[in-house]
């Protein structure tokens, strides 16, 4: 298969294949749905492997399937950025889908769960390859509506309210972003990112588009829906935090502003300040939390702030960050799922001394937590290193120092959560290790968190190619360094 067919297949297999799942549910074959979903998502992931070689060699393939006038075309671009994102997201999503087999009980809503998870991944795959703004937006919104149904999966009244909140905040941001796109269309007459390359963007359009990006990637002050979304099944929070949803905002930023439109110089510093404030404030919030999933959610908000710092300073760092954070945070949420199944609570103060009962989960949690905190030799260390050194080279010394301070806070709350959950006195009754399939997935993610740093040259090379393909915008370039 050539690259075009592969890319189309990667999008179409989960997106259209997901429609099989409700049909299975209708035929009362609900128990099969999980395996079908794993097969669909897994196939898409395996196909992304074939993109890595050409992407690493620097190949860029763009093609257009005309749709409506010169306005809406299905334009796909396969470059290093797209291949990197598709590979990372689908890898984590495959593992999460496998874990779901042990996590989701058989029941009425099982087909809906697998249908939407598969659709969700399909939307993500569509998003990373699309370079037409309308298609980008369409996939963006499919992911929002998928997330609405999934957060409310357990159907408790306040869960539904929180699902609605997540949908409204991300939809609200997205339509503001759409208005920004309309302004751009009014100015340049095109929705093709390729045609907008290098064009400066007006201040109002920029603010509107950033509202969409920040609401999606849960950046302070539009972040509150993400901790609330912790009421979803743990697999879903894991999917939202690690593989798909918040990464969409980051990817959107990278695609639009690093490979397309140009942000005026005056804004660069404010973006950095904004991202740092988000990272710092949410790290402080995480220090206060006793609910394990809310703590991890605030930690995500904080790490996303870091990644934004990375896109603005050292692009390589940002991409490695997306991969390292995805693996580690995915692992942490899946650990939280096992813990929640075993203890029937999310309150960390009611846990304790779980390590003896759940040795594998405990070890995996520790490895992933250290990776998030940026302790070598875990993958998170290298990612953090590239981001912070990028800032130091860019003479953003105050911001860089504060970023290190935030990293220290991260280490504190991560280790403290490990201590409260796994060490010390037991404060609950009868706990047990999770189902074998769940524990295996968690162990794989922990191993990956270390393996990525062992094989660091490979993702590094790919990120380097992506950084070279980026047309413009880096604060470093702006400063002439």
């Amino acid at each position: 298969m050539d690259l075009q067919t592969t890319a189309l297949a990667i999008i179409a297999i989960p997106l259209l294949g997901s429609l099989l799942i409700p049909i299975l549910g209708w035929l009362r074959r609900g128990k099969l749905t999980g395996y079908v979903a794993v097969a669909l998502i897994g196939t898409a992931h395996v196909l992304t492997w074939t993109l890595l070689g050409p992407a690493m060699a620097g190949t860029v393939v763009s093609f257009k399937i005309p749709f409506y006038g010169n306005m809406v075309n299905l334009s796909l671009t396969i470059d290093a950025l797209a291949a990197f994102m598709a590979f990372t997201s689908s890898l984590i999503a495959t593992l999460i889908a496998v874990y779901s087999l042990g996590y989701i009980e058989h029941g009425d809503h099982e087909p809906e769960y697998y249908f939407i998870v598969t659709l969700f991944l399909g939307a993500m795959m569509g998003l990373v390859f699309s370079t037409n703004i309308i298609f980008l937006y369409t996939f963006w919104e499919i992911s929002a509506l998928a997330c609405w149904r999934l957060i409310g999966y357990f159907r408790e009244p306040d869960y539904i309210w929180k699902a609605d909140k997540a949908f409204l905040v991300t939809f609200g941001g997205a339509v503001l972003m759409l208005l920004g796109f309309a302004l751009i269309y009014g100015q340049y007459g095109s929705f093709e990112i390729a045609e907008l390359k290098g064009k400066p963007i007006g201040a109002i359009a920029l603010v509107l588009i950033l509202a969409g990006i920040f609401s999606k990637s849960a950046t302070v002050p539009l972040h509150t829906w993400l901790p609330d979304a912790g009421v979803a099944p743990s697999t879903i929070t894991s999917l939202l935090h690690a593989a798909i949803l918040v990464k969409i905002g980051l990817y959107g930023f990278a695609r639009l502003f690093c490979n397309g439109l140009v942000i005026p110089h005056a804004w660069h510093k404010w973006l950095l300040v904004f991202a740092l404030a988000s990272a710092f404030i949410s790290a402080c919030a995480a220090l206060q939390e006793t609910n394990i999933k809310r703590l991890l959610a605030y930690s995500t908000v904080s790490q996303i702030g870091y990644t934004f710092l990375g896109t603005a300073t050292g692009y390589v760092g940002a991409l490695l960050y997306i991969m390292a954070h995805g693996i580690a945070k995915g692992g942490l949420f899946l650990c939280a799922g096992i813990i929640e199944h075993g203890t029937h609570t999310k309150d960390m103060t009611k846990m304790g001394a779980l390590f003896k009962k759940m040795p594998i989960t405990g070890t995996a949690y520790l490895i992933c937590a250290l990776s998030i905190a940026g302790i070598p030799p875990m993958a998170g260390f290298f990612a953090k290193w590239f981001v912070i050194s990028g800032m130091m080279y860019g003479w953003y010394r105050i911001i860089g120092t504060l970023a290190i301070l935030t990293a220290v806070l991260t280490l504190i709350y991560m280790l403290r959560s490990f201590h409260t959950i796994f060490l010390g006195q037991s404060r609950g009754e009868a706990h047990h290790e999770g189902a074998p399939v769940m524990v295996t997935v968690v162990a794989i993610l922990a191993v990956l968190a270390i393996l990525v740093s062992v094989f660091l040259p490979m993702p590094y090379a790919l990120a380097k190619v992506a950084a070279a393909q980026r047309t413009i915008f880096s604060t470093l370039a702006a400063l002439g360094r």
Binding site: Y68, T138, E156, D164, L168, L178, A182, Y185, G186
Partner: protein
């Protein structure tokens, strides 16, 4: 009913040409614009007819119901096919008479009250339209669209009488379209009618009687004078805002939908008021989309009422567990009306917003965007209270709506998704020819 739909689909390839024929001393013609509205009327009409096979059982009087429904459809089809103002007025009255009776079909107090209110306000509207027609006939001596257009272009347009007539038409047809501040009848009439009739009224009647007439007159005859466009834009904004805000406070399923119709009619008028290519295409596309998703939602509300016997959304909860088809299809309607891609409603709103941006109407663009968030807000509230969630104990014995009702809603839900996915074909085949009739050339 099926026959009319098939025949109007057969006319699809002919969308680009204007066909004229004569019958009963009146000229009938099909052009792109008529065809779009014909399709809308007959698709929704067919779905409502299928739906009523099971639904009308608990009202009784099946034969009476169907003859009135057919009369309604006939009147609406007439409105979009005729070529002069007076015949348009006549067919409008035919449709309206059928609608008055159908609104009071349950023969209960609220139905009859709503019907009378509708009748009385409509009389005012038709009175104004008649005076307008008289003024025009008095000045130009003709009522034919084509001849009027020539007369207006030939300098008679400066005549203040024409602007007076234009004002009367805006008010009269605006009342028929339930534009704020002429909307008072709609929130009473639409909820008390049987569900398929609510769907017809909200989905089709207000558009044919109001929007089509306004479009035909002000774009087709008056060639879109700036003053009228400004009025339409303003009325559209007010309707969009007022309708959405009031809808937010409703606890009656069908009243909420009725107010949301007012809000969506506002979007259509905004598109028309902007008056550029994007705006008009968006408005006409929204006519199609709104007809489909709003009749879908009304039919859903009918299914819920049929099974639970209530329209109060506070008494419902978790109905998706018992009425899965209704629950899923109502989600489609919700997402489409809020403008979530890939459903049809997104593309029409996109075009309206693009129109506003291209015309540099920043405030309008911002308000249109803001109120689509608002729309999603109150429809999510509806979903939360009615379908999405744990089943209310009270309804544990509930069953899915009967087959014919489910078939109709599934057909509409599939249409709203397909219109979105294949929006390019819909635009090229149906919307653009209609917009070309209005804007000429392009």
């Amino acid at each position: 009913m099926l026959a009319t739909l098939v025949s109007c689909l057969a006319l699809l390839p002919a969308a680009r040409v204007t066909t004229v024929w004569q019958a009963m001393g009146t000229h009938f013609a099909v052009d792109g614009l008529s065809l779009l509205f014909l399709v809308v009327v007959n698709v929704v009409g067919l779905c409502c007819a299928v739906y009523s096979i099971d639904y009308i059982g608990h009202y009784g009087g099946r034969a009476k119901f169907y003859s009135l429904l057919l009369l309604l459809v006939m009147g609406l089809n007439g409105v979009v096919l005729v070529r002069d103002i007076f015949s348009l007025y006549l067919f409008l009255e035919v449709a309206s008479v059928a609608a008055y009776v159908l609104v009071a079909y349950n023969l209960e107090f609220d139905g009859i009250e709503a019907s009378l209110k509708y009748l009385l306000l409509s009389v005012v509207a038709t009175g104004m339209v008649l005076i307008g027609i008289a003024l025009i006939l008095m000045t130009t001596g003709t009522l034919d669209f084509a001849e009027l257009k020539v007369a207006l272009a030939g300098g008679a347009g400066a005549n203040p009488v024409f602007m007076l007539a234009a004002g009367l038409f805006v008010a009269g047809f605006g009342l028929k379209a339930a534009v704020v501040p002429f909307h008072a009848w709609l929130p009473d009439a639409h909820p008390s009618a049987p569900a398929p009739i609510s769907a017809m009224l909200s989905g089709v009647v207000i558009k044919v009687a109001g929007i089509y007439a306004i479009v035909r007159l002000f774009y087709g005859v008056y060639t879109a004078p700036a003053q009228v466009l400004r009025v339409l834009l303003l009325l559209g904004l007010i309707s969009m805002i007022v309708g959405a805000v009031i809808a937010y406070f409703q606890t009656d399923f069908k009243r909420l939908l009725a107010y949301s119709s007012i809000s969506q009619i506002g979007y259509i008028l905004i598109g028309l008021g902007i008056g550029n290519w994007f705006g008009v295409v968006g408005a006409l596309f929204h006519v199609l989309n709104h007809a489909i998703f709003k009749s879908l939602l009304f039919l859903n509300s009918g299914a819920v009422q049929y099974r639970t016997g209530t329209r109060d959304i506070r008494e419902m909860g978790g109905l998706e567990n018992r009425m899965r088809v209704t629950g899923v299809t109502s989600t489609f309607g919700t997402l489409s009306i809020a403008g979530v891609p890939p459903f049809g409603g997104f593309f029409s709103k996109l075009f309206i917003i693009l129109g506003a941006v291209v015309a540099k109407q920043w405030t309008v663009a911002f308000l249109a965007v803001f109120f689509s968030i608002f729309t999603l807000g109150y429809f999510l509230y509806l979903q939360r209270r009615v379908f999405f969630g744990k089943l209310n104990e009270k309804w544990s014995e509930l069953k899915e709506a009967p087959a014919a009702m489910s078939i109709a809603v599934v057909a509409l839900a599939a249409t709203t998704l397909l219109v979105g996915v294949f929006f390019d074909s819909v635009l090229r085949g149906l919307i653009e020819p209609a917009a070309r009739v209005l804007l000429g050339g392009n």
